[in-house]
């Protein structure tokens, strides 16, 4: 019995969801189960909206590590399940605190109880006092003191109807909503720093974010594709069940390069990407598009050009980074773990396709004239037909 651990998972915003609460909790539990599926001997319990995972002492650390990657969790703690008896609860405290004491030094602790089971005959402060005094009685001579304000160690007790858990460490989670609770979206992903961060932000709002990548082969090598695949697999670790759609884009780029005004190229490429993304989103049941654009970051992200690309689609386009500074985005990319992959030196566009001076304020009417100069509908159809779909759960890809 001593080898068993109980992990207490606290969810974040689900508590606010009123009648839909069960739906959100079930989604979160399913996501947790999926991400812990290969760990043996796990037992899930969800009594009265609380999430408990029973596991072996050995797998507890791995569980906690993975729980940090699951959107929707406020924090989680490893503890042990005990009978709600003061002596038994205090014994756990003594076991944990004693090794932390040092000769001739004081060490401060406190006990905090959350009494979810209101039928339990003692109130929280009484439990704190009873358990605390028992621990102090045994360890006072070794320098242990009580301090509610600046404790070095807080022993927490959660008293539920079916189960009482003692724990001491809250490991923060990603917060937000469980992936899938809001629906599926399709994100335009390149090998750069921004798009993975944009998708990560939306995943934390409950979206399952699939990716769409516009592949420059054979002008550029497979390096760009491999990089996007690596980024997508990293994102998939936070959500599972996501896909990467790879669209061959070279024929479209060549057509625009050969037939349209050089200054308009970049905006024209992006209008085609948006159109294709919308068609794929509709085909795959995604309810919105997402991009890593941020106002004014590059020539294609001026207000005029953002407007010129948005105008070709009806679906909502989410741009979670729109008001962020580059350094803020980089900091989030580092936190996510995508930064190191994004800065790997793989060209994402051949310089032959880049104009010397891209238009920063392209006029929609002019773009439309350019678009009469190449058969974009048929090229788009062809690209979608040749699209490759990568299931990101597949560990062999």
């Amino acid at each position: 019995m001593n080898d068993r651990r109980t992990i207490l998972v606290r969810y974040d915003e689900i508590g606010l969801k009123g009648k839909n609460r069960d739906h959100f909790i079930n989604r979160l539990v399913k996501n947790i189960q999926m991400l812990l599926i290969d760990l043996e001997g796990l037992e899930f319990r969800v009594p009265h909206g609380r999430i408990f995972i029973h596991c072996s002492k050995e797998s507890a650390d791995e569980c906690i590590l993975r729980l940090q990657k699951i959107p929707g969790i406020a924090s989680s703690s490893v503890g042990v399940t005990r009978k709600p008896e003061f002596d038994a609860l205090a014994a756990v405290g003594v076991e944990w605190i004693e090794p932390l004491l040092q000769p001739n030094k004081t060490f401060k602790f406190c006990v905090r109880t959350n009494r979810a089971d209101k039928s339990y005959p003692y109130k929280s402060p009484e439990i704190d006092r009873e358990v605390g005094s028992r621990i102090l009685g045994q360890l006072h001579s070794q320098g242990l003191e009580v301090s509610i304000k600046d404790a070095d160690f807080t022993l927490e007790i959660e008293i539920g109807q079916d189960e009482t858990v003692v724990f001491y460490n809250r490991v923060p989670g990603l917060r937000g909503l469980p992936v899938g609770s809001s629906g599926d979206i399709l994100g335009l992903i390149s090998g750069g720093i921004d798009s993975p961060v944009a998708l990560y932000r939306l995943m934390k709002r409950g979206c399952r974010a699939h990716g769409i990548f516009f592949d420059n082969r054979p002008f550029m090598g497979r390096g760009g594709y491999d990089k996007v695949l690596k980024l997508s697999k990293l994102l998939n670790r936070y959500q599972l069940n996501s896909r990467l759609f790879v669209v061959p884009f070279e024929d479209i780029q060549v057509a625009i390069r050969d037939n349209c005004r050089p200054a308009h190229r970049v905006v024209l490429y992006r209008r085609m990407m948006y159109r294709i993304a919308q068609a794929v989103a509709r085909q795959k049941g995604c309810l919105a598009l997402a991009t890593g654009e941020s106002v004014g970051q590059v020539a294609s992200q001026t207000l005029e050009n953002l407007n010129a690309v948005s105008q070709v689609v009806d679906l909502s386009v989410f741009r979670p980074l729109i008001g962020m500074n580059k350094q803020e985005i980089i900091n989030e990319a580092k936190e996510l773990g995508s930064y190191e992959i994004s800065i790997e030196p793989h060209p994402d566009c051949c310089s032959v396709f880049m104009p010397a001076r891209p238009a920063t304020r392209a006029k929609i009417a002019d773009l439309e004239v350019d678009e009469t100069k190449f058969p974009w509908e048929s090229l788009m159809q062809e690209a979608i037909e040749k699209m490759e779909c990568v299931e990101l759960d597949d560990l062999t890809v």
Binding site: F219, D258, R261, P345, S351
Partner: protein
């Protein structure tokens, strides 16, 4: 698959794989230990070293140090010899493991001397010796065979010129692209300060190379530890890789004549084929960046570098890759890294010329049929790409 990038790396010789595998199974003992199991592996390393000496005709007064490859060998020698204030010079067209190692001495106030103004088709012109004397250069670092161009710095006449006009200057050569491709003459060792070799460039394993240097020189150790290899490069020796390297060198040297003969044939076939394509395709204008000389003391027959403005080399490379043909590149075409090859711009090409270049490098496995397949695929891809790259048709 047609592999024409043998200056980047080469496939391993099946015989070498056998040697490495067998040694991995049997020779696990640490060669630094004193019991017989360890002494046995030590003996194998000594025999391998002897075999390398015999294959490359290395005199006994030269020391051999096993390294992880050419880059480490170049670092080990230059840093070990030059630190902190020996004046050193280079042509500026060498592999970055030489140029950047020398550049790192700037921080110590020891700026290397560039001899780029003395380059001729990628080689150092003999007239540079007066400059070396004037600048009191103690070490001249060059490629034996340039990795992008195949141009050869012939050590024997260079050593005599140095002995006569600038005797205080020693010569260090990066031989990574030379062994097995051009013949090493025993005279080369007379006066040479050091020479580096890499296993994987001669059908041997990756992760192993050699530094050969004049035993009279006192190299400052770079890798400290258990004091292996004359205390210059500590670390437990990788017996299987060393045995594999010795075998690969033996095979490469034995076959050098045959490889050179085959490479010359391919070289002529390729250069003639490219000239012919230039005539057949009106918009194609081939220019050779490397020398067309058939004199192996001027040009390695294993490397051909050429340009075909306006189509970019990297785009051509990927179009050839689609057809299973792998070639080499000196410079990148990425929108982010617009830096063209320093070697190509160093010999006077414009950045655009440099970006529109490819390097073909032969291995002993290549045949005339490979070259024909390359020429056909190249011509086809060029026709396809020309209009996209021809800036004159750009719509305004």
């Amino acid at each position: 698959m047609i592999y024409l990038d043998n200056a980047a790396t080469t496939p391993m010789d099946p015989e070498v794989i056998e040697v490495v595998q067998e040694s991995m199974r049997n020779d696990f003992a640490n060669s630094g230990t004193v019991y017989s199991l360890g002494l046995d592996t030590r003996k194998k390393i000594e025999l391998a070293e002897e075999q390398i000496r015999n294959s490359l005709l290395i005199p006994q007064n030269y020391r051999i140090i096993f390294t992880s490859g050419g880059t480490e060998s170049n670092n080990l020698f230059i840093k070990g010899y030059g630190f902190p204030d020996k004046k050193m010079a280079y042509l500026g067209l060498e592999h970055p493991s030489i140029t950047q190692t020398l550049e790192s001495f700037r921080e110590l106030g020891n700026k290397p001397v560039s001899l780029l103004s003395y380059q001729k088709e990628g080689r150092l012109d003999g007239s540079a010796v007066t400059q070396l004397k004037k600048e009191k250069v103690r070490l001249l670092c060059l490629s034996h065979v340039n990795n992008e161009l195949g141009s050869v710095n012939d050590p024997v006449p260079l050593l005599s010129a140095l002995a006569e006009h600038s005797p205080q200057t020693r010569l260090f050569l990066d031989g990574v692209q030379a062994v097995g491709k051009v013949k090493l003459l025993p005279d080369m060792w007379r006066g040479l300060a050091g020479y580096s070799i890499s296993g994987h460039k001669l059908n041997g394993p990756k992760g192993i190379g050699l530094l050969v240097f004049d035993g009279k020189l006192d190299l400052k150790p770079q890798i400290h530890g258990g004091q292996q290899q004359h205390r210059i490069r500590s670390g437990t020796l990788p017996v299987p890789l060393i045995l594999g390297l010795a075998h690969a060198i033996k095979r490469a040297v034995e076959k050098t004549d045959e490889i050179m003969k085959n490479s010359k044939l391919l070289f002529q076939h390729l250069t003639a084929g490219l000239k012919n394509l230039s005539e057949v395709i009106p918009e194609l204008n081939i220019r050779f960046n490397s020398s067309l000389s058939d004199n192996v003391s001027i040009q390695s027959p294993s490397i051909v570098n050429f340009r075909f403005v306006p189509v970019e080399g990297e785009v051509m490379l990927h179009h050839l890759e689609e057809k299973g043909i792998y070639v080499g590149l000196g410079s990148a075409c990425s929108a982010h890294s617009k830096e063209p090859s320093k070697v190509l711009t160093g010999i006077g090409l414009t950045p655009e010329d440099a970006r529109c270049s490819l390097r073909i490098s032969f291995g002993h496995q290549n045949t005339i049929a490979d070259i024909d397949a390359f020429l056909e695929a190249f011509g086809e891809a060029y026709r396809q790409l020309y209009s996209t790259f021809n800036r004159k048709v750009t719509h305004q």
